[in-house]
Each structure stands twice: as structure tokens, then as C-alpha cells.
Amino acid sequence: MGKTIAEKILSQHSGRDLVAGDIAVVDVDVVFAQDGTGPLAVSQLRKMNFSSVANPSKSIFFIDHAAPSPRKELSDSHKVLRSFASESGAILSDINGGVCHQVVAEHYACPGNIVIGADSHTCTAGALGAFATGMGSTDIAVGFALSKTWLMVPHTIKVNFEGIINKGVYAKDLIIYLIKKITADGATYRAIEFSGSLSNGLEMEERLTISNMAVEAGAKAGIFATDAKTADYLKKQQRGDCFREIFADNDAVYEQVINIDCRTIEPMISKPHTVDNAVSVGKIGEVKIDQVLIGTCTNGRLSDLRIAAGILKNKKIAKNLRLIIVPASADVYLDAIKEGLIEIFIKSGATITNPGCGPCVGVHQGALAEGEVCLSTQNRNFKGRMGNPGGFIYLSSPATAAWSAVKGYISDPREALK
């Protein structure tokens, strides 16, 4: 019987022939935590009397969620991570590095790896053909200590994106469309394999956007098979030697196969307060916005910034509106400067912040006021997410966000691309 990608990768890391439903202890390749979850992981390591990690060169602490620190309590948390990294030899990605998921994709995750991170969007690295999944601090503490974890081998849902993608429609719209279709818990405990003629043509940065949001349908992992685009991406990152072919067997057993004809997909908007509460932009009505965020681990990559800059060039954002742009990593920021994108943003009236999570998680750099509305390219719009339960968060692609920043209310990006 053939195997899914998840079954193959987990089997290779356990030394056993695993099928969906098995529980196994597996070796892990990359382990990480961030400044929200890391201090608790360190405290659990201390409880086990560990001051070292099993594999320092693939153990990373990221300071990205509140970087630079806005409060003394968070400064103390950062200090805990810096001290433990120094003591254990683990890598520290400090406030200058960027969002963990982007940096893991750029520098650490390889096809066929098992990646575990104390952050739910760890599934992002599935775009590279890795089995990448989020866990809590205690699980990650044991992962740091032993380079092992336990997992139940998930059943897999295969999602085939077919056809062509319309102008003004992007990877973000595809994944919001899928989550609306299967709902916020439609893939709980499952791995999703993204396939189909359209998926195979997607660029790596688009795949990262899609894998990033797999968890918004509850999925444990969101995986793409590898191909020439994976190899090219790794080569560009000077990591060509870690490429290997990862694919499912032709006779792999899927719990469900979902075929999506992408020709019918329009720009999508998730409305407050759940990601699956989504409509096409034409059905949104008049929604006036106070703040727009372009960035995050979902849509803060160079191609996202290029799309936004294409729309914002020689335009000004609407009066009484704040546009915050957060490059996902230092590398993205530098490339955006070299290409002149940052100049376009500043001239349009945008505010650029340092690489990191920005205001997405609500601890700094743009918390919402009571009753304010934000349109964001982030992955999650839960009540209170951006620092205020009285705020309203809508989600979209960077194109929709950029055009809406110009108009002052949620608008169809196809108007700008005519």
C-alpha cells in the first residue's frame, strides 16, 4: 500500500513502517520557540535539569513577537532566551532577524525534515516538503532536550487546486477560500497535501502563504511535494545541497480528496472574528477601515511587498488611515530596500516597522482602539488578536490590503489592476 508524504517522512524518522493512526516517537531535525512560548519551554527544560540541547545548530530561539521589547516584563522574557541560548549553544535569532517561520524557511528547514516549533504557524515550512507542526512549550522543551517527539501519524486530506488563477487573485485568496469551504476545524488532526495543476505552478513564496494557514483549518501540517521550484528556492538561499525529492506514492490512501476549480475564486475577505467567516470581496459591502497591515509570516515576503508596491506607486493612502508595513525578515527588508519598494511605501504615507510579527499578535506596533477596523494580510482575526477585544479584524491578500488603504474602505484590487 502506498504512502502519503506525512506517512513517508514520519516512517523515515522513526525507523518503523508507519501508517495513519499509529503513534510513534520520531527524531526531529529542527526545533524552535519564540519569545511568547520560549520562556515557558526554558523553564520546563530547567525542571528536567537540562542546560543543553541535543542539536544546537538546529535549535533556535526567536525574538520576533515583541521585538524590540515594548515592556520591561517582555525584556525579562527576552533575557531568559538570550541567556539560555548562550548557555546551551542553541541559535538565537534576535530582534534583527524577523518572523520565525520566514527565517526557518530561508535558513533551516529542508525537504523531508521534521520541524517542530512552539508556534501554531510552524506548518509554514510544509511548503518546502517538510513535515512541520506547531506544539506547546512543554513538547518543544522535550524536543530541544532530546531531538525527539511523539506524534500520531495523521490521516491526509489531498487538496487539488486546479485550473488558472484570475488576475487580482492570489495564494492568500485560495487558502481563505479553502478554509471557508472546509471550516476552521475541517482538517483538525489531519495533514493536508496541496497538489493539482495550479499548486504545482505556484512559486515558493505563494506556497509558504498557503502552508502557513493550514492550521487555520485545524491541520497538523500543510505539505507540498518538492519540485524544481523547491530546488531553485533552496539554491537561491545557498542551501541547494539540502534538496531531495519528496512526493506521495501514486497509490497513497487519502481520507478525502478535495478538488477546487480556481477559475471561480475571487479576491476573498475573512470577516471578524473567525477565518472561515469569509466572503468574496464583492459581497463585503461598505467597510470603512482605520488601519491596514501588510506583512507577517503569512504575507510579508518580497513578492507580497512587490504586489503592494505595484498598487501604491504614485498613490497616497486615504486620509485618517494608517498603513503599517512589516517585512517578514531582515533579508526581505534588505531586498525591498534594494528594489526601491520601501521608498514607494514611505511616499504613499505608509509606516515601515522592523522585521518581525508587527502588530499581528497585539502586543506592540499598532494595537487597535475600541471599535476600530483593521484590514490585515495576517492569518488570524480572532477577537482581541490585535490587542483589543473591541477591535474588528478583516483578512485579505496584500493586493486587496494595498488598494483598500488607498480607497479607505475594503475594495476590490482588480479595480487597481485594470
Partner: protein, 164 residues
């Protein structure tokens, strides 16, 4: 172990941002986390939990962020047990790892009302709704997970295995 108390009932998709908002993640102090538990969902939670210590919820309880502070805050607020139709995956692991009993049981979660008196026998796998006179069987947990629970969480389990 037998847990007997009254129910606080919530709906579907109770996410980790409402269980404990990120603006309070600057501490691992359990009492501090508990003082903000559910405050964006139910401003009366801290009063209610003094009298009722079993949470009943719908589908996808604990969805969203991986923050372990969520089950920690729930446990430290005095909650003894959570019964939901279904749990989000990361929350479920985190709860087991830190020793908060979590039971997926759609039938019980559907029928239990806010305020009902509930008795749960974790060893025999039975949920009783005393108020309504109903009884539900809990699906047995895989032995590996049972061993983590009976060790008192994942840290103790690992220490036992490593003999540290």
C-alpha cells in the same frame, strides 16, 4: 479519580486568544494568567469559576495559537476538567502535557446545560449528568497518552524515562 462539580458552558471555536490574550503572555506566573482567563469571552468567568469548575464547550475548543499559557491559565483558575465536542490539536496535547484533564465527548457536550451538576469518573470512563439523569461513556485514551497522564504530565514522564 472522580470529579464532581457544576458546568460553565461555552460555544464552538473558543480560541486561545480569548482563553488568554497575547497581551498577558509576558508572564509564566500561573495566578497572574488565571486572573485574565476567558476575560475577552466572558467577563464574569472569574466569579463563575468560584462555584462551577467544569467547562463544557462545542467544537474546536482551544483553536488558534500554540500558547501553553491557555491550559495553564484554565487549570490555575481552578477548573478541574474540560469536556468539549472536539478539541483543537495543539491545545489537546498541551492540556495533557501540563495535567489538565480534557475529554472529547460530543454527546455529553451537546446535552449538558450551563449550571448542570456533573460527575466524571476518569478511571471508569463515565460522565454523569446528575441534573438531567444522563450517562455517557468516554472513549479510552491510547496507552501511550495514558502513561503521560498517569505520570502527572510530560515533564514527569520524560524525567521518569530518562531517570533524572
Amino acid at each position: 479519580m472522580i470529579i464532581k462539580d457544576r458546568a460553565i458552558k461555552y460555544g464552538n471555536n473558543v480560541d486561545t486568544d480569548v482563553i488568554i490574550p497575547a497581551r498577558y503572555l509576558n508572564t509564566t506566573d500561573e495566578a497572574e494568567l488565571a486572573s485574565h482567563c476567558f476575560e475577552d469571552l466572558d467577563e464574569n468567568f472569574s466569579q463563575k469559576v468560584k462555584e462551577r469548575k467544569i467547562i463544557i464547550a462545542g467544537d474546536n475548543f482551544g483553536c488558534g495559537s500554540s500558547r501553553e499559557h491557555a491550559p495553564v491559565a484554565i487549570k490555575a483558575s481552578g477548573v478541574l476538567l474540560v469536556i468539549a465536542k472536539t478539541f483543537a490539536r495543539i491545545f489537546f496535547r498541551n492540556a495533557i502535557n501540563i495535567g489538565l484533564p480534557v475529554i472529547p465527548c460530543p454527546e455529553a457536550a451537546e446535552s449538558i446545560n450551563d449550571g448542570d451538576e456533573i460527575e466524571v469518573d476518569l478511571d471508569r470512563g463515565i460522565i454523569k449528568n446528575i441534573t438531567l439523569g444522563m450517562e455517557f461513556a468516554i472513549n479510552p485514551v491510547p496507552p501511550f497518552i495514558q502513561e503521560i497522564i498517569s505520570s502527572g504530565g510530560y515533564i514527569n514522564y520524560t524525567k521518569k524515562k530518562l531517570k533524572v
